[in-house]
């Protein structure tokens, strides 16, 4: 059946249908013919017998009287009307087979006389006579008088009649079948087309799509498919039609596919362009081990290594600190992990500071981490400059206090030396004890002054970039030394409640001091404001409280000052936001404070009740890996 297999679907349908129809028709025809022939023949014979028998009844008398005239008349009468069509002849014979009456007007059929003579007149018999010139069923019916056979009636049934009937019928049938076949031919053709043309169109379109050509319009598709449908259906066709539904689904699928492919292409493009020309260096690293799998041109440029050199290196080989230095192990579900101000080394050894942003991804079927680095060296530089500037601003604040602080020892030194000068001038002897006291005092006061200067120097120093493991309490103490006395002079109690077992944090001493300083000065200002503007029932107080909370070190600075209005809470961290009058402050303190806190992965929060007080809370994550036991407490 290879021929069959090679046919197109359309032809398959057509051939199958046609073949089937033909087969069925032929079977029906044959069956009907057989049935017809047999029934017609038997019917004919029955009729013939019937005729013969009725004639036999009426001919009986005349056979006895050998009335040929009457018998002839009877014979002819039997062939009246449409009987003529199938009764070929009628013969009435006597018991010896002598013909008494017959209807052979134009001549006897050859051999018929012999047949009649030879026939046994006693029994009903039906024979088929197929002779040259005629073909009949010869029915002989005996005419009996009582039990004696007196003669016979012979009826010749023309087979041709049947045959012509059958032929006519056959012709009708066959023409009918032919018409059916032709109609069916067209129908199956149309049906096949209706099925196969849309399928062909769909195949064509699918191939097109496979090649990547999505430029098929929905109209074209449905039009193409619809056009191949029944031609008499123009315009919107029956929505119930399976072909129509197939078309609809196909169009939808194609559109979806197109959109998806377009989106994919676009995102691929985007990704590629981002990766290639993104302003930030991007690394693709293994999820475990952080081995570099790929780097974009910017990364290559920034770090100075070639791509081949980078691939295979571990990411943290480039870093200043080991991998453990980077905070926050990302959970398996966390999309992002960041690390700010991480220090890396370029190939030539120069250091560069980057912010790291990571996100998990898949790269060539592997689970990887995309590491984006932002070169923030400049930013870090600017940052420290800003901090420095703020420090300067702070210094300004401090200057009055410092001046005052220094003037005290200076005064003592001055008065002491003046005393000695005066005594010397007046030639008055100086008491030995007095002398001792003075000299000691001078020395002490010098030391004191130096210390103050030293503190100042420390405070103003630009911090290094390396974070250290520090103890926040020390910072608090340092600030207290700087500003404590001033605050006390303003009749504000500075209370320290420091947890001796406070966990260490990874930060800069200097910067934390800045933070504490900022908050304390703000608190002082708030308390002062309250003292000036409101009725106060308590002495002004600033409380610095440090304590451990799980694995965090918490620093709280609270005051009973004027508080912050709820509406202003969000704004306090804004740069240049200040409630102080012009010239009294730039409003950079809190933003910088927050920046510093964030740098060390800490959080800052504030609670305040207007008129009652404010509390700033800073939480720093504890640094676990340290040389000292993390539970060791210290003063």
């Amino acid at each position: 059946m290879t021929f069959f297999d090679h046919l197109t679907l359309k032809n398959k349908i057509f051939f199958t249908c046609l073949g089937f129809v033909l087969l069925v028709s032929v079977l029906i025809a044959l069956f009907t013919r057989a049935l017809l022939i047999s029934s017609l023949t038997s019917g004919l014979k029955d009729r013939g017998v019937g005729i013969a028998q009725s004639i036999a009844d009426s001919a009986r008398v005349f056979i006895l009287t050998e009335n040929r005239v009457e018998l002839t008349a009877i014979a002819y009468d039997a062939r009246l009307g449409n009987r003529k069509d199938f009764v070929s002849y009628l013969v009435i014979s006597d018991k010896d087979g002598q013909i008494l009456g017959h209807t052979f007007t134009t001549g006897f059929f050859p051999g018929i006389r012999k047949v009649i003579r030879q026939r046994n007149p006693d029994n009903l018999s039906i024979n088929t006579l197929d002779q040259r010139g005629y073909s009949v069923f010869h029915i002989s019916v005996p005419v009996k008088e009582g039990i004696y056979t007196i003669g016979a009636v012979h009826v010749g049934l023309d087979k041709k009649h049947i045959e012509s009937l059958i032929a006519k019928l056959r012709l009708i049938f066959l023409s009918f079948l032919s018409v059916i076949t032709v109609i069916f031919f067209f129908l199956s053709h149309r049906l096949a087309l209706h099925i196969t043309r849309p399928i062909t169109a769909l195949i064509r379109y699918t191939d097109q799509i496979t090649k990547g050509d999505f430029n098929i319009l929905p109209d074209a598709v449905s039009g193409g498919i619809a056009a191949s449908g029944p031609p008499d259906k123009t315009g919107p066709y029956d929505k119930e039609d399976d072909i129509a539904r197939l078309t609809d689904s196909f169009i939808k699928m194609t559109c979806q596919l197109k959109e998806s492919t377009d989106r994919l292409k676009e995102s691929q493009k985007k990704y590629r362009s981002l990766f290639r020309s993104g302003p930030n260096p991007i690394f693709v690293v293994e999820k475990t081990g952080f081995r570099i799998l790929d780097a974009n041109p910017n990364a290559i440029e920034l770090f100075g290594y070639g791509l081949e050199e980078l691939i295979g290196m571990r990411l943290f080989d480039l870093a200043k600190h080991g991998q453990d230095h980077f905070s926050n192990d990302p959970g398996p579900d966390q999309a992002m992990m960041g690390s700010s101000k991480a220090g890396f080394y370029k190939k030539d050894g120069t250091s560069v500071f980057v912010n790291i942003h990571t996100s998990p991804s898949t790269y060539k079927d592997e689970d990887v981490i995309l590491v984006g680095t932002t070169d923030i060296s400049e930013l870090v530089e600017k940052d420290s400059q800003l901090i420095q500037a703020s420090k300067m601003a702070n210094l300004e604040k401090m200057s009055a206090g410092i001046a005052h602080e220094i003037s005290q020892p200076l005064n003592a030194i001055k008065m002491g030396s003046e005393y000695l000068c005066m005594m010397q001038e007046k030639n008055r002897p100086v008491n030995k004890d007095d002398l001792h006291m003075v000299l000691t005092q001078i020395s002490t006061q010098v030391t004191r002054a130096a210390e103050i200067v030293g503190r100042l120097k420390t405070f103003s120093r630009k911090t290094g970039f390396t974070s250290e493991i520090i103890n926040i309490n020390e910072c608090v103490h340092a600030v207290n030394k700087i500003i404590g006395r001033q605050i006390a002079l303003q009749n504000i109690a500075l209370v320290l409640d420091l947890d001796t077992c406070l966990p260490r944090v990874l930060a800069h001493h200097n910067r934390i001091e800045q933070v504490v300083f900022n908050l304390v000065t703000n608190a002082r200002d708030a308390v002062n404001e309250k003292m000036e503007t409101m009725i106060h029932d308590q002495k002004g107080q600033i409380l610095i409280h440090t304590f451990a909370d799980h694995s965090n070190a918490v620093l709280e600075i609270s005051d009973n000052g004027t508080g912050i209005a709820p509406g202003r809470m969000d704004s306090i961290f804004e740069s240049f936001y200040t409630t102080k009058e012009m010239g009294e402050g730039l409003g950079l303190g809190l933003p910088i404070t927050r920046g510093i806190v964030k740098d060390y992965n800490g959080t800052i929060s504030v609670k305040s009740t207007p008129g009652k007080g404010t509390c700033f809370q800073i939480i720093f994550p504890a640094h676990h890996k340290g040389t000292e036991d993390e539970n060791s407490c210290y003063r």
Binding site: R79, F104, G133, E163, L171, L174, S178, V182
Partner: protein
């Protein structure tokens, strides 16, 4: 591509169909080359007619009339060297006998043509034979409509039809005589029905219907019942379609009962016999004829056909007096011979029929032209009304 395939399949289907329905064409032993009944020197003609019995006068007269002419032709050497051999069998106006006779004539005698049949039921009976044998039948002493319509090429009617006869009668009665009450008395058979129908059709034209209808059975003289019916209707005229015996009895009885309508008979009645039986009761009885009166007198100039008939009859059958029926027979023979003549030497039935068809406007000498051709196969159309006067049938002008 599709067209080709379509055509291929169509062709295939047609072939299959034809294969199945093919059958050899039916053989026919009859064809245009059938020369049955024709020999080198003889043409056999057959006739079955009433030569004896209550209609025997009709047959005898007709036969003698025809034979007169045929014998005359034969004596002159026949037609195209062939003599006409007429075989006449008596069927006594019995259709069954007529059927048998005709079968014998066709089968045994192998006649070329049938000729001069008498009577409606008889002739009608043998129509199947004529059709089956495809044998021409020339001249029938019957005006039955059945023989004329639907037209049968083998039945060559010469005389006018009963419809025409009754039409003429009714015209005379209604138009000329101004009667409106017309009754019909008819033989209860094919012949009678035909005449009745003709009368009814004729009366219908005047918006009339027969006021009474009476009938009798063929072969009997039981006319009383019919007479009673018609008398009761007080008809002014009676159209009678029957034979001379029953009709005569009807008229006599009518007159005896004081019923004096205008009686009319169709030609088939046998006017001469009717007149003879009626005697003086026959006075004023009208008989419609299809041929002119077979008398030479008192015409100023006798019709040549009539004259020839009388002459030939006298020479061959000197004992027979000329009659309407005989003249009809003579006419039949004239037409027969004309046809044979026109067919030519290569005489076949087909040729003969074609020859007959070619007869158009042929006057066999009675100022009544014969036309076959495209019209219904009937030659004479003229109807003559005659009235019995002094035992003779006189033409009504």
């Amino acid at each position: 591509m599709n067209i080709f395939r379509y055509l291929t399949y169509l062709l295939l289907c047609c072939c299959i169909s034809t294969c199945f329905s093919c059958s050899p064409p039916p053989q026919s032993d009859l064809g245009p080359d059938d020369t049955r009944g024709v020999t080198a020197d003889e043409i056999r003609i057959g006739s079955s007619l009433a030569l004896k019995g209550h209609a025997g006068y009709l047959g005898t007269q007709m036969l003698q009339g025809a034979m007169s002419y045929i014998l005359h032709i034969n004596s002159q050497g026949g037609i195209h060297g062939r003599k006409i051999n007429l075989t006449a069998l008596d069927d006594g106006y019995d259709p069954t006998r007529c059927l048998y006779n005709t079968q014998q004539l066709i089968l045994e005698e192998q006649v070329f043509a049938l000729f001069c049949y008498v009577g409606t039921p008889t002739t009608v009976r043998i129509i199947p034979l004529v059709n089956e044998a495809k044998i021409p039948l020339v001249g029938m002493f019957t005006g039955a409509n059945r023989l004329r319509s639907p037209s049968n090429p083998f039945l060559i009617n010469i005389r006018a039809s009963y419809y025409q006869e009754t039409q003429a009668a009714v015209d005379y009665m209604v138009k000329t005589k101004g009667f409106d009450r017309v009754a019909v008395f008819y033989q209860y058979d094919e012949y009678g029905f035909d005449g009745l129908r003709g009368t009814e059709l004729a009366l219908q034209k005047y918006g009339l219907i027969p006021v009474a209808k009476g009938s009798y059975v063929r072969g009997t003289l039981d006319v009383e019942a019919g007479l009673e019916t018609i008398m009761a209707s007080r008809a002014q005229a009676v159209v009678m379609i029957g034979t001379y015996d029953p009709c005569a009895k009807f008229i006599i009885l009518a007159r005896q009962n004081g019923f004096f309508p205008l009686f009319h008979n169709v030609s088939f009645v046998g006017s001469k016999e009717l007149a003879r039986r009626l005697g003086h009761d026959g006075e004023g009885v009208i008989v419609s004829q299809v041929v002119p009166p077979p008398t030479l007198t008192p015409e100023p100039s006798p019709l040549p056909g009539v004259a020839e008939y009388i002459r030939l009859l006298a020479s061959h059958y000197p004992d027979t007096r000329p009659s309407f029926v005989g003249l009809e027979g003579y006419m039949n023979a004239r037409i027969l011979c004309e046809g044979i003549e026109r067919a030519g030497r290569d005489l076949t039935r087909e040729q003969f029929l074609q020859a007959i068809a070619s007869i158009d406007d042929y006057d066999p000498g009675i100022l009544n032209p014969v036309s076959f051709g495209t019209r219904e196969y009937q030659g004479l159309n003229h109807v003559y009304l005659t009235v019995i006067k002094d035992g003779d049938l006189v033409l009504i002008k």
